[in-house]
Symmetry: C2
Subunit: 233 residues, 2 copies
Amino acid sequence: MSTEQKKRVAGKHAQEVDKIEVSGAVIRRLPRYFRYLRELLRQDKMRVSSAELSRMMGVTASQIRQDLNCFGGFGQQGYGYNVPYLYSKICELLGVDSDVRAIVIGAGDLGRALVRSPMFEKRGIQVLAMFDIAPEQIGREIAGVKVRSMNELAAYCKKHQVDMAVLTLPKESVEEVAEQLSGYGVQAFWNFTSKEIKLGDGNAIIENVHLGDSLMVLNYRLARRRAEEKEPN
Amino acid sequence: MSTEQKKRVAGKHAQEVDKIEVSGAVIRRLPRYFRYLRELLRQDKMRVSSAELSRMMGVTASQIRQDLNCFGGFGQQGYGYNVPYLYSKICELLGVDSDVRAIVIGAGDLGRALVRSPMFEKRGIQVLAMFDIAPEQIGREIAGVKVRSMNELAAYCKKHQVDMAVLTLPKESVEEVAEQLSGYGVQAFWNFTSKEIKLGDGNAIIENVHLGDSLMVLNYRLARRRAEEKEPN
């Protein structure tokens, strides 16, 4: 998308997003549609039926129709969905390319992995800087993003508008740092420490990521399979 | 836990787990209980009321009673829950310490971050080895785990019983490698590539992790907040 297009989408988003009420459960499913539609676009597919989408995504066609109806339902009988249109609508609804500026706290393995992935760019999020306390990290560049000292954090946030902080620091200091950042005007937190944070003013937007929970579900399913194999009756 | 205790739990698990039918939604919530109960144990708290647990976890007390009732409900009126007992029951149900052996494919930033985290150890999962194709990675040790060449993968899996593979390789080769591993008897896959894998025999247990989806939900909530601030009516 060009900068002009981005601005248009961002502007439109601000105007339209609050007119559409979509449930939390649907919002959690929309990123999957985003991924699959993006893939269809890459393959130059311009239309898709709910049956095809259903096969690709492993969700029932009726679930798909229901989800997409939630925000206006753009399918046409006998034609299916217009892929670029549906993609742009989902981007708009999810606030893709709405000019979000992020920093990453912690330049360890995980922080680096995140910054090197195309994840932020794909969603139109700009990573401005990384911060760390380890002298051997400070001054490095990860995928074009400079690692700065935590001592610079306050000054940096005052100078640049920072909307989002990605927290990959040790859990012992996560709450203190997040409170600080919140004081500097950071509104959204993507928290990778295993500690769920609650901030004082109650206004912060927080996504706690617990990778261990997903590992545990996998482990459970494996243990269950083994138990079934042992006692088939 | 001692090895003896572990063996006991694993044995018990195999006997009991298939007697309890718990819904997928509850299973997805249990790892949170695991985390909070673990934290209470660390603080030497031996009992907890559903009201306290509710405050800690930000879930209603009735939801907690309902979840825990699903697998036998161990709370007592006026006493609350016995923390070590509840913890051990949840561990058992989730198959913690049931002697799972994992390998990690890909020794890049993400693979290293995962192996260095205490995630596996906390759930009693043993990481046997990492595999990569990059000559500069091969031979390294990450948290005591050796990085081996992908050329050794087949022989290694034949020699050692591998139950689980953590997939942090480029998405272009993920399906091929997962099929291979499945052929070597690997049953469970923790997939970090953005490509959702489906394996030929349909028997594999797969958890696809999409970090980008969580980022997108955060981004959505931020965009929505901004839109609300712009147009308060």
